[in-house]
Amino acid sequence: MDRNATPPAALAVTLSIDGATVTVPAGTLILEAARAVGSEIPTLCQSDSLPPRAVCRLCLVECDGASKLKAACATPVWEGARVVTVSPALRRIRQTILELILSDHPPDCLTCPRNLNCELQLWATRFGIRALAFPPKGPWPKPIEDSGALVRDMSKCVKCGRCVSACQDGQEVGALTAAFRAGQYEIVTPFRQALLEGPCVHCGECAAACPVGAIAEKDESEAAFRLLEGSNATAAIFSAETLAGTEDFLGYPPGSVTPGNMVAALKRLGFFEVLDRAAFARLAARVEAEKLSRALEREGTLPLIAGCAPTFRAFVSARYPEALKFLSNAISPESLFAFWMVDRFRGAPLPRPARAVSFQPCLARKLESRASAANQKGGPAVDLALTARELARTLRRASFDLRALPATPFDPLVLGPSLTLPDAPAASPLAEALYAVQREGEKGRPHAKGPGGALREFYVDFKGEKLLFVLVFGIQAARKVLERVLDGSLKAAYVKIMSCPKGCLGGGGQALETLARLRMEENGAGDPAIP
């Protein structure tokens, strides 16, 4: 919503909120209109860009002096409405609701992954909740680790349904649902099947949507430290998107930490070599170009569809098995990095084993790593795949000012003579085009609201022909594309599917601060500063 633009009269609604008069486009929710006049209404179950569920009831407001309260997150404004968002009665109701949530919530903030970045903690703190009439007693269910990338600690779940909505309404994957009644009401996978066995793409949209520490990445930052202690030949790669998230997480102004600072920081943590993930992404594009040019020569295999991560295959198997034949076994930059590492230290007289750690705002990558039980391929794989959040946490522990570190260049990606890269194909215009599409996918879509924002088309000249490359953001859009592929109506040569609706920059493993900033930019709220 743009505060400064005046909507046309017919579509504009004027109302008063806490005594301030405001004119907003018809259809604006009370919650959004209130933000425009600086009234911040507490919310817990609401998340921008997903349909409201209105179940936490924190956002209730008084309207037109009526005793019936309305949920600001689900109620559109109307002409002449008089809305009150702060009153003694509302304060008490909200405080009671928070107390009710805390009466069934483990008091584990200090050891919780979301400590200091938790929406429940935030409101409980603001409302000054001190003692509860019936303190929570447990017993608490044990965290569920059935995916290798995500941990679901349902003892912390406040049943806001944001994860379900992110997965069902946002992604249209449907790996999560709400089941049972009353005290048993619970967020589960359908039939409690393991996440790994269902359609889950491990995008982490659920973790990114969760206001508390109930669904989170499997935190391997401690494992990274142990790895560094046990090896003096550990190499790392990171991307520009990871750097952006780390900056946001640690509170640096955007753009103030250079890649050179980050290389220095990682070396200070004990990494032996630090390389640019983009170098491996370029290499991956070359391998992909080989596959595509072969597919172009064969009949009936187009488009070549490449998921951003192997987990996309699980989704296609579960939901569109007929489309499996179009799927490319795309090799990821992370895997190439692991290949390279094997080669890099072959025969080198190093006392400690060589290890590879990748950093990307991506949860699906974890399933590619050696640390994941899901990775049974046995081929070269990075030892650990950490998200941007974990990188930031790792650096936070080291507590130095990243900006003060001397800028250090990336270590070069040298393709050695004994490199065992699959075919190690040469650079080509097709590879460059594929890399460009890949980069667009990583950089994400800055203003992705609306269905059109989820698709981008590129035309590539190839041997006198114009090839259509389609870049797809998110599984919801991917479903439509797959359906078009299957009914033959999509005449593309290549389809790149980013599982995350906002690409890697807005990935499920990104710093929550970055995700909040992207959301604000998407909603056009003007000031992208982090609250």
Binding site: P52, A89, R92, I97, R181
Partner: protein
């Protein structure tokens, strides 16, 4: 006025419930035939004039509900009958479906005609297996006789009725949860607005009325709205089926004219409840199901009708009247009520899911001598306000109704007064 009337239940027990002939001999289907000659507005005018209030519990004026649906664009419009009858102590819809199912169906067909609807659905409580079969039979009989199906009675109007059933959850009686359940979704309430009249079953405009409400429609049309109103209370016409249970000598379903009987008549008259069993005293009574208020001996002379009861803080609700003798502890009774709600909450909103759990704990604590503190008093009151005002649907909003009425009815038993009493001990 007589204490008992025979309007909705006319013919019940005396005629074959599945005989069209028997039903017609009592004037059955005269209303439907008359309705064919009436404009929808005229039909609704009678219902509005009759002051027929919804019999499912919320007492929403049926005429107003029908008027709203009529004014909504969009088709098809669906007719849904709420036969979930989940409110404990309520068993009058069962009686209608058992004894006079054709009256209910006639009411629904008239609704179908009014809104030019192609389909009606009866959402029958999961436990009412036998009734589901009976209704299906009744529907087939009407189809065979030309009252249902293609071109009803030779008119251009076609209408089908289907029975559906959930798995038996109290919350599925809430009309939007009912529609979700009917669609095969989890039986949890929807966000309103949009109202069901606009976005209802399968997202189409939908009318949801209770069994007894539909069964009154033929009466309204045959008697005329004015006479129907006169047969009841000036603010709410017609009769009400009362489901009398508890410690009365003669429990059962009784049809009383609204405003024509008092609670004393209902519980004590030899024609109705015939007093409390085993020579005991009446302790209190619970009206309208678990979501309704408690009343005591001092309330007995209130006429049984929507507005007089409401003025006393009481309610007709579903028509349940549960009389409890003086040996029943109100606190223990309310503990059971609280347990009911904490079991039946659909679980999706915080005030109801968590609130009912905590409410049950407060009621336990009230029974521990010396445990109650002024702090508990304040917090319980905050909790009750939050549940009533902040719950997502009627279930959570009304879960504290019984307790709130009991606090007034038994001052000291539920209030701070119990704290000093305990500290004296």
């Amino acid at each position: 006025m007589a204490l008992l009337v025979s309007m909705v239940l006319e013919g019940a027990g005396e005629t074959d419930p599945l005989s069209i002939k028997d039903y017609e001999s009592l004037g059955g289907f005269a209303a439907l035939r008359a309705a064919f000659a009436l404009e929808p507005q005229a039909i609704i005018r009678e219902i509005t004039g009759a002051k027929l209030l919804g019999r499912g519990g919320a007492a929403y004026p049926a005429g107003k509900k029908w008027e709203q649906l009529l004014n909504i664009e969009g088709s098809p419009k669906y007719i849904v009958c709420n036969a979930d009858e989940g409110e404990p102590g309520t068993f009058k819809d069962r009686r209608i479906m058992e004894a006079v199912p054709l009256r209910l169906l006639e009411g629904m067909i008239i609704a179908g005609l009014t809104f030019n609807s192609p389909r009606g659905f009866i959402y029958v409580r999961g436990e009412y297996r036998r009734l589901q079969r009976r209704l299906a039979e009744a529907i087939q009989i009407l189809r065979d006789a030309g009252y249902l199906g293609e071109r009803i009675l030779g008119s251009p109007f076609s209408f089908e009725i289907t029975t559906i059933s959930g798995a038996g959850a109290y919350v599925c009686g809430e009309n939007s949860a009912l529609l979700n359940s009917a669609e095969g979704l989890a039986g949890r309430p929807r966000i309103k607005p949009p109202h069901l009249a606009e976005v209802g079953l399968f997202l189409k405009p939908t009318l949801v009325n209770n069994v007894e409400s539909f069964a009154n429609i033929p009466l309204v049309l045959t008697m005329g709205g004015e006479k129907f109103l006169q047969a009841g209370h000036p603010q709410s016409g017609g009769s009400k089926l009362v489901c009398l249970s508890g410690h009365v000598r003669a429990p059962g379903v009784y049809e009383v004219p609204l405003g024509g009987a008092t609670l004393r008549d209902i519980i004590f008259s030899p024609q109705l409840g015939d007093g409390i069993r085993d020579g005991r005293e009446l302790g209190f009574f619970h009206l309208g199901g678990q979501s309704g208020p408690l009343g005591g001996p001092a309330d007995l002379d209130v006429p049984y009708a929507y507005y007089p009861l409401r003025e006393r803080g009481l309610a007709v609700g579903s028509g349940a009247v549960v009389a409890l003798d003086a040996s029943v502890s109100p606190v223990e009774y309310l503990q059971k009520v609280a347990e009911f709600f904490s079991r039946e909450s659909c679980g999706k909103c915080v005030p109801c899911r968590e609130g009912n759990k905590i409410l049950a704990k407060y009621l336990q604590k009230l029974q521990i001598p010396g445990a109650w503190t002024p702090e508990d008093e304040r917090r319980l009151s905050d909790l009750m306000v939050a549940m009533r005002r902040a719950s997502f649907c009627g279930l959570g909003q009304s879960a504290t109704t019984a307790l709130a009425s009991a606090q007034k009815l038994f001052p000291g038993r539920f209030a701070g007064a119990s704290a000093p009493a305990a500290s004296e001990a």
